[in-house]
């Protein structure tokens, strides 16, 4: 098997140098974070994921909302009793949960547009490619720093980008490790890998079997947003969502009035690229229905 080529030493050095500049407010440059566009979702990656949602320490991703979890000794019989460090008088800490997920968020364009749109909600991007994740992380850090050291005349960004985070992970395998039942209200699948070959269809991010898992972590009334520039893939995703008993399609009107759809069309990195190339963009949105009794 061909593994990904050794990282370019020059780029790596540039990245290291970039991160050294403390409290940097300069946005990272994509060219130092390039990586091939595909990753095999079935193979083992060096991933960090919690044993269960209760074990997840979100403080690295949303430091403004979470305090560090103290690690318990493994000998304890009950895994759930993860004791939190005495949170200071700030009661806001540790009460929020991630509500919006961008699966395969790429270079993070959607996250950054969603951040001021939903300043009260925590939004998590998930991306399997390491370099791309590093880029988004650096981008978020820079944006947060820009907001915290406010200059005169600078517009105030609601939420100050403290409500967005990025995690490297394989969403097809490990979503239930991060999210509890009914935790999310929105899931985005923007310009996913089309996996054209029929025998690769199981690697597609929307598949009949994976939809059951998305229905599990989405709350009733929650919405799945999909957009792609590949018509075949659009038809495939819409068909499988249509066929799945846990999802119903949003009407054309509902879809067009949804602010997220507008953002998804214009502000994702892929969306911009497609627009530059004057390609078509196909959107399909589905609501998760109530659980059957």
């Amino acid at each position: 098997m061909a593994s990904s080529p050794a990282p370019n030493p020059v780029k790596r050095q540039k990245r290291i140098d970039f991160r050294k500049t403390e409290q940097q407010e300069v946005l990272p440059q994509k060219r130092f974070y390039r990586q091939r566009a595909h990753a095999n979702p079935f193979s083992d990656h060096r991933l960090d994921y919690p044993i269960s949602p209760q074990d997840m320490d979100w403080s690295d991703y949303f430091p403004a909302y979470f305090s560090k979890k103290r690690k318990l000794d493994d000998t304890a019989d009950n895994s759930e009793e993860t004791v939190e460090v005495q949170s200071t008088s700030d009661v806001k800490l540790d009460t929020k949960k991630v509500e919006i997920a961008d699966i395969g968020c790429g270079f993070g364009g959607l996250l950054i547009s969603l951040a001021p749109t939903f300043p009260e909600k925590l939004i998590l991007g998930m991306e399997i490619r390491m370099q791309v994740t590093a880029y988004v992380q650096d981008r978020i850090t820079a944006l947060r720093n820009q907001c915290s050291t406010k200059k005169e005349g600078q517009e105030v960004v609601p939420g100050g980008y403290q409500n967005i985070g990025i995690i490297r992970g394989n969403a097809m395998k490990f979503l239930p490790n991060f999210f509890e039942k009914h935790q999310l209200s929105k899931m985005f699948f923007c310009f996913p890998d089309p996996h054209f070959k029929a025998r690769k269809h199981k690697a597609r991010i929307i598949s009949p079997t994976l939809l059951a898992e998305y229905a599990y972590i989405l709350r009733p009334g929650g919405i799945i947003y999909t957009i792609t520039d590949v018509e075949d893939l659009h038809l495939w995703m819409a068909k499988h969502l249509d066929d799945h008993p846990m999802f119903e399609r949003l009407s054309e009107e509902e879809q067009e009035n949804d602010v997220c759809v507008k953002i998804m069309r214009t502000d994702t990195e892929e969306g911009k690229k497609v627009a530059r190339n004057q390609g078509s963009k196909w959107v399909a949105c589905f609501r998760r229905v109530e659980d059957p009794v």
């Binding site: 193979s43 083992d44 990656h45 395998k173 239930p176 598949s207 659980d291």
Partner: protein, 516 residues
Amino acid sequence: MSSRRHPVQAIAFAQSDSPKLFIAIAETVYAISATTHETIATWKAPPAPVQGKPQSQVLDVTGKAGEDGDATEALPANEEALAATTAPKTEENVESTDVVMADSPPSVSSTVGKRKRSPSATSIAPPETSDPTETTTDPQKSDKKTRNRKKSEKRKAKNAAKPPPPPQPNYIGQLVPIISGNLLAVTTLEDKTLRLLNLETLEVVKEWVLQKRPSAITLTPAAILVGDKFGDVFSYKIPTPSEIEENSEGKLLLGHVSLLTTLTTATSPPSSQQIGSSGDVKKYIITADRDEHIRITNYPLTHVIHGFCLGHTAFVNRLLATKDNLLVSGGGDDWLGLWDWKGGNLLQRVDIRTPVDAMFNREEAKALTEKLRGYNKKRKRREEGAPEVEITIAVTDILEVDGKEVIVVLEGVPAILRYKYTTDNKLEYAGYVKAAASITSLAVQGSRIYFGADSEEGALVSYVDITEGEATAKDFFDGRSFEGQVVEEADVNAVNERLYTAEAFRKGFGGFMEDD
């Protein structure tokens, strides 16, 4: 070819008209009377159809339509003859592609390997690239074109030159008796097929070709559920005698994006309390995978996931739904999980490490772990200077005996560990039953345990009644040698690779990682 005594890799008991034990040795299933211990019937899996692209290409090129059908229905005797006739054809095929390429050396035998072939392919590069540059104005573009063409030609040639893979024995995977239908469900691994055999005669009455290699099987009252290596679970309806002839297809129920290791069914509330009110009884499928997950899915509404039991830190390999409606799980961790599966709560981590450590000294245990890891070719051997091998545990079977205790078998370990329920419904270690060698299969009937062990000398199949206080196993065949126990095998390690698969599920032992 050398011969090897082959252990029983799967075992099942059926209390039909006459009690029978079904055992699988390599490619053969034997039905044996549990009272007289005589063989009643046998069934040998047909050889798997020869696979691989090069083969079909060869047949296409020669244009003999009949060949294709022959290949797939080849009888055991024909097998070698077929292989012999296809070999020269591969050569023909290589030559014919060479003619298309026009500038390759005229005769390249099929035995020429990848390495030898590539220099010859590069040697033809200069004339090819110089040609188009003279005629076109855009040299860069055409360069790319020829490069692509060359690449695909090279790939084709490589495929054609590859010798056909040696035929693999069509191993028996799982055995499950379906008493109500007087059937035995059998999966075979190489031809990826689920068959229903007559429980008495072992004649094949129905078969379904599966999409992927089966890795787990269980029954519901009306269906056979098969999990595969791609993580999907398919349901196959158990036919009534009148439906046997009808065509029916597997239905996809659910899927993990991971290797599905095991599955079981459970009901809630427990079936003992459901008297009269069947309305509240909910059924579930519980599945486990290599990525530490245990998933609870509604049945038959399999698009609704009820929950997960998360807590394992290594692969999960076996599940047991107990009489008291708890779940026991085991795999690559040092402990068994005891779960309130409905709520997803881990009630107890049952230590299995201490008993194993007491059984072996450290050197023995290390040697065993190394050996089991070595059986899997995909894993690199430990490199010099790498940290010392950690002794690991892999659960290969968990069963409940008579609703009183839980027994556990670990890969490579010559013992059955016993765990008893305490008054507060926890599990407590209660000693072990010693076996002659590592245990390769296990079945329970009432208070009696039947098991197969991988030894050249000891009993092929042993049994023990543990609740009667016995702890020494008896030889099922009472010292007689069993007709099917010696199997011809070219490579002894190949047998081990097929028998010892659990430890290979472990991640991160020098195995391939995409990010490396």
